[in-house]
Amino acid sequence: MSDNIYLPWIATITEVRPETADTSTFVVTFDDPQLRESFTYLPGQFAELSNFGVGECPIGIASSPTWAGSLEFCVRAVGTVTNAIHDLDVGDKLGVRGPLGNSWPIEEIEGKDLLFIGGGIGLPPLRSLIHYVLDNRERYGAVEIIYGARSPQDLVYKQELKQWEEQPDVDLYVTVDAGDGTWDGPVGFVPPFLREINPTPENKVAFTCGPPIMIKLVVEALEEMGYADANIVTTLEMKMKCGVGKCGRCNIGDRYVCRDGPVFSFDQLRRIPGALEA
Amino acid sequence: MQDRLHDIVRKLLGEGTIEYFIGYGAGSEPHRVVPCFVTSDHEVERLVWGPLCLQNLSKYVLQAKDLEGKAGVLVKGCDTRAIVELLKQHQIEREEVVVIGVACQGQVDPRTLEEVLGVPMEQVQGVEDAGDQFVVTIGEDERTVAKEQVLLGKCLYCRHPSAFEYDFTLGEIVPFSIDAGESEFAMVEELERLSVEERRAFWQKQFARCIRCNACREVCYACYCKECIFDRKMPRWLDKPPLLSENEIYHLIRAVHLAGRCIDCRECERVCPMNLPLSRLYKKVQKDIAELFDYEAGIELDEVPPLVSFELDDQDPFM
């Protein structure tokens, strides 16, 4: 982060990979070569992407810190800034301000089995941690990934899903709310699909990210399966603006999601009034 | 008058014809009168009436839609014009609201009262209406002051909707008339006499002072849009920073939207923390609408607003 916390660094889009109809992965590298080396971050952190003249938007860093050189952002075209970003092409410039927020608890979960539950565009924040774990495989236990989306076309990172499928030490389960001709896998929402798989809670930490309704039902299911709140970790999506805990917008209780989050465990969230209503 | 108000409200609440009543209540200090929402019998005592009840409560009727049950509201003649316009603009149904009209004989402008008395409002214990004077109690002693010296600007040209059937009335509703000594549009004509450069300098200075707190929009009965174009992201009519060009666009577009709707309640000017002379802008709007299209907002319920109708023989300087 530069000493002026509002001044972004300039980065160039080196690759744009369409993921779904309204979502693409933007791979960016910093223009300043010295910065490419010195820029470090942790999985789960995010950055404010600037499309100068239009505005800024907070996007989770989807790449893993273990990959040097470039950052990956999975951007869905939903607001004015994200739509404008979708109008940029390889070679155009973006501002990157970060890394911001806290990160997934990578130390606390060492030696533990890991369960990832992602929904739709909730996968990118988890993906950063998954790759980090896979690149430091020996420090972590078993890896189970449950991922669901509205339809086969809405699945992001389709190639990686294939990769993880073939990987021996990763159990991957993918479902879609509604299948179509090309889909032969399981069909159904993530929460019931999770109950079907019924992963055991011993020595396991669950990470979940997705639409609020899915998280609510997933957490209920996990609690019924015996997961303690402390072992269920999520990343919240709130309206953010400054990303550095000053502008007063993303508060839940006395925590700023952009500064004290976005990663929270559920026992933290239970203690904050109104956190789960949002 | 106040006791009759209490009886009516108690009856209405008791019968269940209304769920809550919007009136004026005493604030923490005697000179402070605030909007007050009464829902139960014991709160009726808080309701007051007097020359310091300045707010136009009609805007609060719009909230009635998202609270269940009917609302009752206390309105002065000038406030009733807002009710007429809200009916005309399909925002409320007449049977949705119980309207209590009060025979208002002029309201006090706190700022001018302070100047005339040379005493800050904090020390004023109360103001009573005494015919063509006000009796002001300060501490122990009472001082009288001629009404026309301290009246709100709009009271000098008090106007009522011509035919409005109130559900109840407090006192006999008759337009308060007083010799204002100058034409209703004097403050506008004064600016009109200036040169274009002087007028530009005057308004650029005022627009530059605006801090864009939106109070004038939120207090105005006519600003009931679900999502105001100023809050819209796409297309972006206005940027949020209070820059001169953005403030100018804000105030001029609001003036255009108030054409044929402004009822001269001057709440926008009263609530403006920066003392922008907004009534000099909206008085101009009313003057032009009256002169060009012979129309006055909030008087006739079934009259079609000027900018959404036309006459074949409208004046046409554009040939």
Binding site: - | L252, L307, E311
Partner: protein, 148 residues
């Protein structure tokens, strides 16, 4: 007749004027002026709308506040509107807006409404020349940025 080319006299200030032209009459009048090769100053930029009644007063205000030197709304002559009543509303809005803008210190020549029919190519050219001359005499509407 329209003024030959554009004289860049005086301080070389060239006003930038926005013109709204309705598709059925004034835009056609502008085309006719073009077909008849009527020369005129190059200060006006035309935006085509289906009817002059489509031009929101908010456009005029935004354009003037964003620094354009003049805005002209062109429409069919009253009675000739392709939509029969459109320009009656343009007329009323123009009447009101002109007085409001003048009141807040925008010179009257900076916002004008003119009726130009499909057959009045010459009148279009004269309007362009006349408005350009009037606005040029007034100078810039907002202090120009030096970057320009």
């Amino acid at each position: 007749m329209a003024v030959e080319g554009s004289e860049t006299g005086g301080n070389g200030f060239e006003p930038k004027i926005l013109m709204f032209a309705c598709n059925w009459c004034s835009y056609a009048g502008a085309d006719l002026a073009g077909v008849s090769r009527l020369q005129m100053p190059a200060n006006c930029r035309v935006i085509r709308v289906m009817c002059s009644a489509r031009v929101r007063p908010e456009f005029v205000i935004t354009a003037l506040s964003k620094g354009l030197d003049g805005v002209v709304v062109l429409g069919c002559h009253p009675g000739d509107c392709h939509y029969s009543e459109g320009n009656y509303f343009t007329r009323r809005r123009g009447l009101f807006l002109k007085k409001l803008l003048e009141y807040v210190g925008i010179e009257p020549e900076r916002f004008q409404v003119r009726w130009v029919s499909a057959s009045e190519g010459a009148k279009f050219a004269d309007t362009v020349a006349e408005v350009t001359r009037q606005v040029k005499a007034l100078g810039p509407n907002r202090p120009r940025r030096n970057a320009q």
